[in-house]
């Protein structure tokens, strides 16, 4: 634990130094980045060892005792899991940012950016470590503020200012629910210590428990990005620098999931409807997230919507687990939670990988518009390969990690469907169908993204002149890609690691038996061996092909153009046209806007088609609501009309009212 504390301190000091040294941009950048890298390296080692050992450490120091606060930090397997992912991703992103940031302007703002980055890492770690409500809230809010500053790093751009405001307001409104939850728990127990909240659940009335659950889901779901609370996400993540987007999307939104996992057990034995609720949220977030992603052109915006989708998958897993718990089906519970937890890690890996790749592309070409790119695989082979791995992984394809976690959820739901009663079977079957749909759509979306951006011919000059990014930026992506393969091939090991975490999360007896049963089913072993087989098979077929072709002559020509003499790069299929069938199919939800200029005249010259898909929930739900409230409230402004006579009249009226109250009502 001392090591973790020192990690936090190093982060803080490094950030401050980065600001103080901002006179010398290179130096300050190096200090900011390397402090983060080193701290994360140490932190990763420590938390990984904790996780593998399944150990728990605890540390306390007095702090604001008058309020009931305390510097109480602890790392149990659950924390260790999140910490490991956190430090891995943040360290790699910092390494990436070291080169990524230097093309931005140096000086004070760059130094500040590093300060915020280091503080973001530290505060996220603190959120995961803290065991005291006050400490948790402080860390939580600091995390929000710091990430807000990172989102508005380029605040000379109107859209990033707007994104920052939306993010800040959304996260604050979410925090209100968190406050309600914390304060109510504090009221029930008279303490702000999480440990004291353990056994509250039995004392809660079902109604109170339900409300608390709602507060939990809304409050932390806002940070996690459950639909429809996700609206800040597609604005904020693209606005931030890419390595920050990687951290925000890969880790920060997971702190919401962590908090739910940490605090849900305090509410006692879950009723069935909680599971239903999470499953429905999961399917909704997953499907809507991927649908909105399909309709986007901006690479980072698309990725941000995929974060919503993956959060949906995680929520689905947790929901399956909850159903398993509430109906006392340990197999379902274990597999559901295991899938959700593993997907947290997986998403952290491949989503940060994808954001880093997107950043590399943006840096090389100066644009994030899918339809202005193309043919980048030839120009940036390393980045392209890594991005392909990420794309396949996020689509949940074997032999990569995304598949393993989805397989766990599938298996759990399948088991529940087979053995459980209808109340359990129906939502679980819904989950399976939803997960299948999500998988198919995600594959479609990433085929589109990778195909349009990296394959084919470059559509613009920027794309043609793109250069591979420096090794310092490529290395992190490579490592992340390797991790994706590692988990994809090592499913049994992954489950082995998850055991202690699950034991802490699931309130059911004799879990070890279930663990044995699962291990005995050999499914994970089979999955990883199938993965290996797939690799082997691919290699053999490829070898056969190469061997075979080596004896044949290999010609090269242009792509089959149906006989048309002058094909040009602009004739390629675009992202919009690729996604059009699906977007059209779901147009009732997406409500894309199309601006189409028909070609006119005998010799039609130019015509144009623009599509834009704005967030339906923002446009149709939140904006009208806010406007309505604002209009309604501003009716009250006549109170301050400026006439001193009226002001005195208010006093008189108040006085008379209180006189009546004092002489009649009270007496």
């Amino acid at each position: 634990m001392i090591a973790l504390l020192s990690v936090l301190c190093v982060l803080g000091v490094g950030g401050l130094l980065a600001v103080l040294l901002c006179r010398w941009p290179r130096l300050s950048g190096a200090v900011g980045a390397w402090s983060a890298i080193l701290a994360c390296a140490v932190g990763f080692v420590v938390s990984a060892r904790l996780l593998l050992a399944g150990a728990t450490t605890d540390w306390q120091a007095p702090w604001l005792p008058q309020v009931g606060g305390a510097l109480h930090m602890a790392a149990d397997p659950l924390s260790a899991l999140f910490l490991a992912a956190l430090f891995l991703v943040c360290g790699l992103s910092a390494l990436y940012g070291l080169r990524y940031m230097d093309h931005g302007r140096g000086g004070l703002r760059a130094g500040l950016a590093w300060l915020w980055y280091d503080l973001l890492v530290a505060s996220m770690a603190l959120v995961i470590l803290s065991r005291n409500a006050l400490l948790f809230l402080v860390a939580w809010e600091v995390m929000a503020i710091v990430s807000f500053f990172l989102v508005t790093h380029e605040d000379e751009r109107q859209d990033s200012r707007l994104a920052g405001r939306i993010y800040l307001i959304a996260t604050h409104l979410g925090t209100v629910f968190v406050f309600i939850f914390m304060l109510y728990m504090a009221r029930e127990t008279g303490s702000l210590e999480f440990d004291a909240w353990r056994n509250v659940g039995s004392g809660l009335s079902p109604l109170a428990g339900g409300w608390l659950f709602v507060c939990l889901v809304v409050g932390f779901g806002t940070k996690a990005g459950f639909v429809p609370l996700h609206i800040w996400l597609p604005e904020a993540h693209p606005a931030a620098p890419s390595h920050v987007s990687a951290v925000m999307s890969g880790i920060m939104i997971k702190t919401g999931i962590y908090a739910i996992l940490r605090l849900l057990p305090c509410l006692g034995f879950p009723p069935l409807w909680w599971g239903w609720c999470l499953v429905v949220i999961g399917i909704g977030s997953g499907v809507l997230g991927v649908l909105f992603a399909l309709a986007q052109h901006d690479v980072k915006r698309l990725l941000a919507y995929h974060s919503v989708e993956n959060i949906g998958i995680i929520a689905l897993g947790l929901g399956v687990g909850l159903i398993g718990v509430s109906l006392n089906m340990p197999l379902v519970a274990v597999l559901g939670f295991a899938g959700g937890l593993l997907h947290v890690v997986n998403h952290a890996l491949f989503k940060s990988l994808l954001f880093l790749g997107a950043g590399a592309v943006a840096r090389a070409t100066g644009t994030r518009e899918t339809d202005r790119l193309g043919g980048l695989l030839k120009r940036m082979p390393g980045t392209g390969a890594a991005f392909l791995v990420g794309a396949a992984a996020i689509s949940g394809l074997p032999p990569l990690n995304g598949f393993v976690s989805e397989f766990m959820i599938y298996w759990g739901s399948f088991a529940g469907v087979n053995t459980g009663p209808g109340v359990a079977a129906v939502p679980l079957m819904l989950g399976i169908a939803g997960l299948a749909l999500i998988g198919g759509l995600a594959a479609a979306c990433f085929a589109k993204l990778f195909g349009i951006v990296f394959l084919g011919e470059p559509r613009t000059a920027e794309a043609r002149d793109a250069r591979e990014s420096p090794p310092a930026m490529f290395l992190p992506m490579a490592i992340l890609a390797a991790c994706c393969f590692g988990i994809g091939l090592g499913a049994p090991f992954a489950f082995q690691v998850l055991r202690p975490v699950l034991a802490g999360v699931i309130p059911l007896p004799q879990l070890s038996l279930t663990f044995e049963a699962i291990a005995g089913a050999d499914a994970f072993l089979a999955v990883s061996s199938v993965a290996f087989l797939a690799l082997v098979l691919v290699l053999t077929v490829a070898a056969f092909r190469r061997l075979h072709l080596s004896r044949k002559n290999e010609g090269s020509t242009v792509t089959w153009d149906c006989g048309y003499a002058k094909p040009s790069a602009r004739m390629q299929y675009t992202a919009s046209s690729f996604a059009q069938p699906l977007v059209g199919l779901f147009s009732t939800v997406l409500r894309s806007r199309r601006k189409f200029r028909m070609p006119a005249g005998l010799f039609p010259s130019e015509s144009s088609l623009e599509t834009e898909t704005r967030d339906v929930f923002r446009d149709r739900l939140f904006t009208p609501a806010f406007k309505g409230v604002d209009r309604w409230l501003s009716f009250l402004k006549w109170l301050q009309s400026g006439r001193v006579q009226l002001y005195v009249l208010y006093i008189v009226i108040t006085l008379l009212a209180l006189l009546v109250w004092a002489l009649k009502v009270q007496a």
Binding site: D630, Q645, L659
Partner: protein, 228 residues
């Protein structure tokens, strides 16, 4: 009918007269009269023999309320062409009616008070409360700044009477402190009215309504969020 009751009834009548009249000059004279009325009260209610202290208080009070202030007011109003309160927010008859209502309220309140303190002089408490309310009505219903100051004075008189009823033996320095505050306050108001007159060359408070948050179409704060 004792002296006190007479004084009280006079007090009420002056209040009503102020509510009903429109001339600033009348206001000032009535205010001066009230000053005398409330000034002499301590002599009437106090214990049989008048102490030096009481005499001093009475003297200063009358000096301030019925000499100093009227002089100040007329001094301010010198050079104002407008000598009458024109179109007040509440008409004269209406404000008379309001006055009657205020009288009712005053009686209602004082009936709910435990009577052993006020029992000695049954009219004093209602009269005091009434002139407080009357002062407030004047402030609320009139336009001219001068009138409002006078309303404030009327209110103060009411409070002074209440003080005599409730705390016959309040320490001297408090009385003087109160009086001092009153003097300074009214002086400041006078200076302000002077400036108001200089700024707008009239003493209506209509022009004193520029600072406000009430705009017919306030710009919604969130609307920018809506725009892409």
């Amino acid at each position: 009918m004792s002296w006190i009751d007479t004084v009280m009834i006079l007090l009420v009548l002056t209040d009503l007269a102020m509510l009903g009249s429109s001339r600033l000059g009348v206001y000032v004279r009535l205010a001066a009269l009230q000053g005398v009325l409330v000034g002499v009260l301590p002599l009437l209610v106090g214990p049989g023999r008048i102490g030096l202290e009481t005499a001093f208080v009475v003297f200063t009070t009358i000096a301030v309320k019925s000499v100093l202030f009227p002089w100040l007011m007329s001094r301010i109003m010198r050079g104002f062409e407008a000598r009458r309160e024109k179109e007040p927010y509440v008409g004269y008859t209406a404000s008379l009616f309001l006055g009657v209502v205020a009288l009712g309220v005053a009686l209602w309140v004082s009936r709910h008070l435990p009577t052993e303190e006020t029992g000695v002089h049954p009219y004093m408490m209602p009269a005091a409360l009434f002139s407080i309310f009357a002062g407030l009505v004047l402030i609320v219903s009139r336009r001219k700044a001068v009138t409002q100051v006078l309303g404030y004075l009327v209110m103060e008189n009411g409070i002074y009477v209440a003080g005599i009823v409730l705390v016959p033996d309040s320490p001297l320095f408090v009385e003087l402190g109160v009086l001092l505050d009153l003097v300074v306050g009214v002086f400041l108001m006078g200076i302000m009215i002077f400036h108001i007159h200089r700024e707008f060359d009239h003493i209506d408070t209509d022009q004193l309504a520029t600072l406000s948050d009430w705009k017919p179409a306030p710009a919604p704060a969130v609307s920018e969020e809506a725009r892409p």
